[in-house]
């Protein structure tokens, strides 16, 4: 067997240092955005220092100094994050090590450790972004890291040659990657509990509502989810995406009375009507358990259910982009028989607040009697009085609903929904607040309906005996265009909105649509390639529904085939023949047809002498050709010689033609 030489790792060449520094910078740099500033500065400073040492051929600092730096950096990180375990802490430590490792590079082994660290660091970028630019950047980094390995093991070569070789390896590794990506049996994680900070920074609807809480969300042009309808898309005014429902009011904040984890005692009673819509939602992660579905979902994806307040919830918080298939009805009647506890909850109000609103509601109750007519009275009140729809409402003081109804009269959907539900409850009608999204924009490029955080909305539901829950949108009474055309149409132009939401230029809009369509394809097929998607794809490829054994076997077979292809490409006999050799061999083949065969061992000049002796008529030509060839191959050949050699070849062809034409 091969005996490994147990010799110390060879010392590092000076020429490899810039490669290694480039690796450290390229793999660590994108982390600057989410590291504490001092860590980035420290890492940058150390790398700069190392570059300076390299430029001036200085000695590396002593080990104790490095040890001190590592210890100090790690302590700083521990103090900054209050822990040494966790995702962000780990990333910060890795970046620190990556910056300090070049300081103790003496042998080849050190360099290889740095490259391996680089591979690992590449992975951590995906914690923060898996976008197309990140993917491309990391592809380039992979090429740089492999180029560094080639430089370490292959000795000094021009950088461009090293990079080209790395590119070749990358190109050949790509098919293997695709095969494994497609066929490697996917497991949905996590395998174990993730650190606390794993899902920080996810945005979405909140699990309570206070007037003003949606405002921040509305400012975001981020995509909340995408929907793709199997058939026609409902009219915009019917696109109410139902999210969390709140039925508990403390005078300031709306909350769910029962947590969304609770299953109802009896399933809801839904009369779905004729019209149904099938669609698939690609939900962006929001770290909550509720799902967003068109009001009202009648068929839910597996592992999800409706709560007592008709909120579709999943078994686990949504922590990754998830595809969910729903069927919804828009003309529905739900729960004409409702549990008394829930109805009682839907009437409950904190005592002795908002006296003026209560008085008003009492007056309407006596006047209009039925729930629908009371609701209409409230809506026409909103319409006829001087109410405004704005994203910048004044702060409400004291009794919030009274202040809003009789004083400020400026508000946003939550203000209207909140006031409406208060009035209805005070008027004896069971009512609750529903939050979610309203509307969405169809991307003509890929046909997906895009719903953004800026489409967040709040509306109300009232319960009418015999008819069940009915949706009432008080905002529509104040600003009908919000429902018809979206938020940018409903708001006064002075109100701040993210630039992405308010795009007037057509080409900018179409550019955004294209970019988002590309991103969506990326999300659907690359990032969203989960076990379920894998089954879909494989069965579409005609592989049936293979289990992990089948997939592993297919993967192994495919990888074997790919490897075989690369090997064959590699082993293809590639004898490098120079142009003069080619010409000379062709010349000899021609001669052989004329009956003069050159032996393998015969040199060109000897051969020419023999030909001159045996076939004097060919002697001169062969002598010329052999002379040029010998000059090219063994002497000081000149490009002119090659031309002359080829002339001899043509001349011979000419002779040959004459030879066959000659009558015998």
């Amino acid at each position: 067997m091969a005996k490994f030489k147990h010799i110390p790792s060879p010392p590092l060449e000076r020429g490899t240092i810039p490669w290694l520094l480039a690796c450290a910078i390229a793999t660590a740099a994108p982390h600057v955005g989410h590291l504490p500033l001092w860590t980035s500065l420290l890492a940058g400073l150390v790398l700069f220092w190392r570059t300076w040492l390299w430029r001036n051929n200085e000695r590396l600092p002593a080990r104790w100094l490095l040890g001190l730096l590592v210890f100090g950096g790690a302590t700083g990180i521990a103090l900054e994050f209050h822990t040494l375990f966790g995702r962000d802490t780990g990333v910060a430590l890795l970046v620190l090590f990556m910056a300090l490792k070049p300081m103790e590079m003496r042998t080849r082994r050190d360099a290889i450790v740095l490259v391996m660290l680089g591979f690992f660091l590449l992975l951590t970028h995906y914690f923060y972004s898996q976008s197309i630019p990140t993917g491309l950047w990391l592809l380039a980094c992979t090429a740089l890291l492999t180029a560094t390995l080639i430089r370490i093991h292959g000795g000094a070569q021009p950088p461009i040659a090293v990079l080209r070789y790395a590119g070749l390896l990358l190109a050949q590794a790509m098919p293997v990657m695709l095969a494994a990506f497609l066929l490697f049996p996917r497991i949905s994680g996590p395998l174990w509990g993730l650190p606390q900070d794993a899902y920080s920074g996810l945005t979405g609807l909140s699990n309570e509502m206070t007037p003003g809480s949606l405002n921040n969300l509305i400012q975001s042009g981020a995509i909340a989810f995408r929907a793709r309808f199997a058939g026609e898309t409902p009219a915009r005014s019917r696109l109410y995406w139902r999210g969390p429902v709140f039925d508990d009011y403390d005078g300031h904040t709306w909350k769910p009375h029962q947590p969304f984890t609770r299953r109802p005692e009896s399933p809801p009673e839904i009369d779905a009507g004729e019209k149904r819509f099938d669609y698939v939602i690609t939900l962006e992660p929001h770290n909550m358990r509720w799902l967003l579905a068109l009001d009202l979902p009648v068929a839910l994806p597996p592992d999800s259910a409706l709560t007592g307040t008709l909120v579709a919830t999943a078994r686990e918080p949504v922590r990754q982009r998830t595809r969910l298939a729903f069927t919804s009805a828009v003309d529905y009647h739900v729960n004409p028989q409702e549990s008394t506890a829930l109805l009682a909850q839907s009437l409950r109000l904190p005592p002795a607040i908002n006296p003026r609103a209560r008085t008003l509601a009492d007056q309407w109750r006596r006047e209009f009697i039925t729930p629908e007519r009371i609701a209409n009275a409230v809506l026409s009140y909103f319409r006829s009085e001087n109410f405004f729809y704005t994203l910048r409402p004044p702060l409400l003081e004291g009794d919030a609903v009274d202040d809003f109804l009789f004083n400020t009269r400026r508000g946003f959907c939550e203000h209207y929904a909140s006031a409406f539900v208060f009035l209805m409850r005070a008027g004896g009608v069971p009512a609750r607040v529903v939050t979610g999204y309203q509307g969405g924009e169809l991307n003509p490029v890929d046909g997906y309906l895009v719903v953004r955080q800026s489409d967040a909305h709040a509306w109300a539901e009232i319960w009418v005996t015999g008819k069940g829950w009915l949706r009432v949108d008080p905002t529509a009474a104040v600003a009908p265009s919000r429902i018809e055309r979206g938020i940018e149409a409903a708001l006064p132009t002075a109100d701040p909105l993210p630039a992405l939401v308010r795009i007037d230029s057509d080409w900018l809009r179409s550019l955004r649509n294209r970019w988002e369509a590309v991103n969506n394809t990326w999300n659907q097929w690359v990032l969203g390639y989960n076990p379920q998607r894998q089954r879909e794809v494989l069965s579409r490829l005609g592989l049936g529904e293979p289990d992990w054994r089948g997939m592993t076997a297919a993967l192994a077979a495919l990888c074997g085939l790919l490897l075989l292809a690369v090997t064959l490409w590699t082993l293809r006999q590639q004898c490098a023949l120079s142009p003069e050799q080619k010409s000379w061999l062709r010349f000899c083949r021609r001669l052989a047809r004329l009956g003069v065969v050159r032996a393998n061992w015969e040199g060109p000049l000897d051969f020419a002498t023999r030909v001159a002796r045996e076939r004097p008529e060919l002697g001169k030509l062969v002598k010329q050709a052999a002379g040029h060839y010998a000059d090219l191959r063994y002497g000081e050949g000149h490009p002119e010689d090659l031309r002359k050699l080829n002339n001899c070849l043509h001349h011979l062809a000419h002779l040959q033609a004459q030879h066959w034409r000659k009558p015998f």
Partner: protein, 322 residues
Amino acid sequence: MAILTGILAPFRQWLFRLGRDERLPVVLTQRRIFIIPTRIGVLFSIVLMVMLIGAINYNLSLGHALVFLLAGHGLVAMVHTFRNLIDLRLAPGRADPVFAGETAQFTVSLDNPRRHDRFALELAFGNHDGVSIDLPAGERVTADIPCPAPKRGRLNPGRITLSTRFPLGLFYAWSYPHPPLSCLVYPKPLETPLPQASAIASGEQQHSEPGHEDFSGLRLRQPNDSPRHIAWKAVARDFAHRPLLVKQFSGGTSEELWLDWTLTPDGKNTEMKLSLLAGWVLAAERQHLRYGLRLPDRELPPDQGPAHRDRCLEILALHGQI
């Protein structure tokens, strides 16, 4: 253990085809190239495993892609490491004699008939240090492989280990070409004073042996001829085409030095005696003496010049060996 060796030995014999290559040049075919992952390769696969677990745990789809891409690099690198050796042609060259204790340099020529460059080919004997060479496409390169020569005699360095870790260092591919190689190792010379020379005045011998007094002709210059004896006039006449000639003289007192086995101190072992004789040969040659060598079984008549010196040293090197 003995049983295991008994089973393994024929297996190794079959696998590595231990034995000398008769056909030259030695062509490295698939059958002759072996490949295993290096420690770095093992480390790389462990890193990939950890990364894969991380990617699964955090549901990073691109993380999967990265791991698979790197795994693909590993597979492809295996082929490339193999490609770095395949179809190489190795032919043995000369090896200049050395003294025992020095390092012999075995020259081999490597031919790359293919259209791709080869890098970082390591050539070594056994566990000794080797050399590393690059071999561009379609070219021939010679390499001097060092091999320590501890003992006098014929040094047979055994098979060459031709290995490479290029491009990524994840795999180690090697082959054992075993062309006929040997190098003459002279005994390690021991510097001691020369024995007494004996003046010989036999007329017959005087006639033919060169001296310093009467000019007797010209001959081709040899490297350690004194510059004073060069026939400068003859050279100047036809400088372009004539090699350097030296004047030969005859007559004069000619001392003959017999470096005799029996002159070496008693009580020394054979190797020591041979070392002493080798030291004398070198010293005599340095002093431009005419010297002969007399061993119990061989005798070399007195002469001088590098060729004679080398003959003497060769006889000493091969003394007692076939």
